[in-house]
């Protein structure tokens, strides 16, 4: 009888603990997922220069995302889907918006103050399309490569030596590739800015 009682109490205690843990985990996941659109938007902002970041990221994109996530119509799943979709769209078009902004700035400064003060902006506007063509696709390529590494590049198995390394080879290769791509992207940016 005592064993049954203890068993029942143990079951109830387990149920309560599991329910509490489940709530905590779901809250944690909800909180983390809410950060996803912000993280994507920050990634988009990293493609911009400081001034463009202030104008586009801080004044345009971020307030709109905040409205999507905190607005009156915001529902938990809807806001996540809409917010993420919004941020992904921005991620792939950030450089286009920045280019238009840059062109407008260059034209305005050339028209008002003459060529000398605006020389830097004008030169940058001229080079921007080249930067966009060469540098910006690199991060995209990087993510594609990372995905490919995770999916189809188990390096260890190529040598037919099943070791513990096999399990880690794909992520390791992906991280190395990611670091190389980042480095190459930074070098190219510096090179193009120096010109």
């Amino acid at each position: 009888m005592s064993a049954v009682l203890w068993g029942g109490l143990g079951g109830i205690a387990t149920f309560v603990i599991m329910a509490a843990l489940g709530d905590m985990v779901s809250e944690e996941i909800r909180d983390r997922l809410d950060h996803l659109p912000h993280a994507i938007l920050r990634l988009a902002a990293r493609q911009l220069d400081e001034t463009e970041r202030v104008i586009l990221y801080e004044e345009v994109w971020l307030p709109d995302l905040a409205y999507i996530l905190k607005g009156d119509e915001a529902r938990p799943v809807t806001r996540l889907v809409v917010g993420t979709w919004y941020a992904v769209g921005i991620l792939f078009s950030a450089t286009q918006s920045a280019r238009h902004l840059q062109e407008a700035k260059a034209k305005a400064s050339v028209g008002k103050d003459g060529p000398a003060p605006s020389a830097h902006a004008a030169i940058r506007a001229q080079h921007y399309s080249m930067r966009e063509k060469i540098v910006q696709p690199l991060p995209r390529l990087m993510y594609v490569c990372m995905g490919a590494c995770f999916a189809i590049l188990p390096i260890g198995s190529l040598f037919d030596r099943p070791t513990t390394f096999d399990y880690y080879s794909s992520p390791v290769a992906a991280v190395i590739l990611w670091m190389l791509c980042r480095r190459a992207s930074k070098l190219l940016k510096q090179l193009l800015r120096a010109r």
């Binding site: 307030p63 905040a66 919004y86 769209g89 078009s93 920045a98 407008a104 034209k107």
Partner: protein, 110 residues
């Protein structure tokens, strides 16, 4: 103000602004009204702004009370209203299907 080659997507956005030229519009509001993705809409707004067709302003709210930052709102400029009307008319004319009465009857002489 610069001249622009109006694309059908751009025409959709301009049409919203022309419905009430004095009313300011928000980026996300335009996304909902036009059904366009952010990836298409925001570069287009930047392009229209760069060409001087739109001006940018701030939403009139108290960020602390609202719990979020003030959004950027776009308003069409006076010069752009007339230019947009003309160009939308031209675009409409370009895409207008031919009137059936003008078709030559089968076997007939036009």
């Amino acid at each position: 103000m610069q001249g622009l080659d109006i694309t059908p997507k751009m025409a959709t956005v301009l049409k919203i602004f022309l419905e009430d030229p004095d009313q300011s519009r928000y980026g996300f509001e335009l996304m909902k009204l036009t059904g366009m993705a952010s990836g298409s809409l925001y570069p287009m707004l930047a392009r229209l702004e760069a060409a001087g067709w739109l001006t940018r302003g701030k939403e009139d709210i108290d960020p602390r009370a609202a719990g979020r930052p003030a959004r950027t709102q776009y308003t069409i400029t006076g010069a752009a209203v007339s230019a947009a009307r003309i160009q939308l008319g031209e675009l409409s004319e370009r895409y207008r299907p031919p009137v059936p009465g003008r078709l030559r009857p089968q076997g007939g002489i036009a």
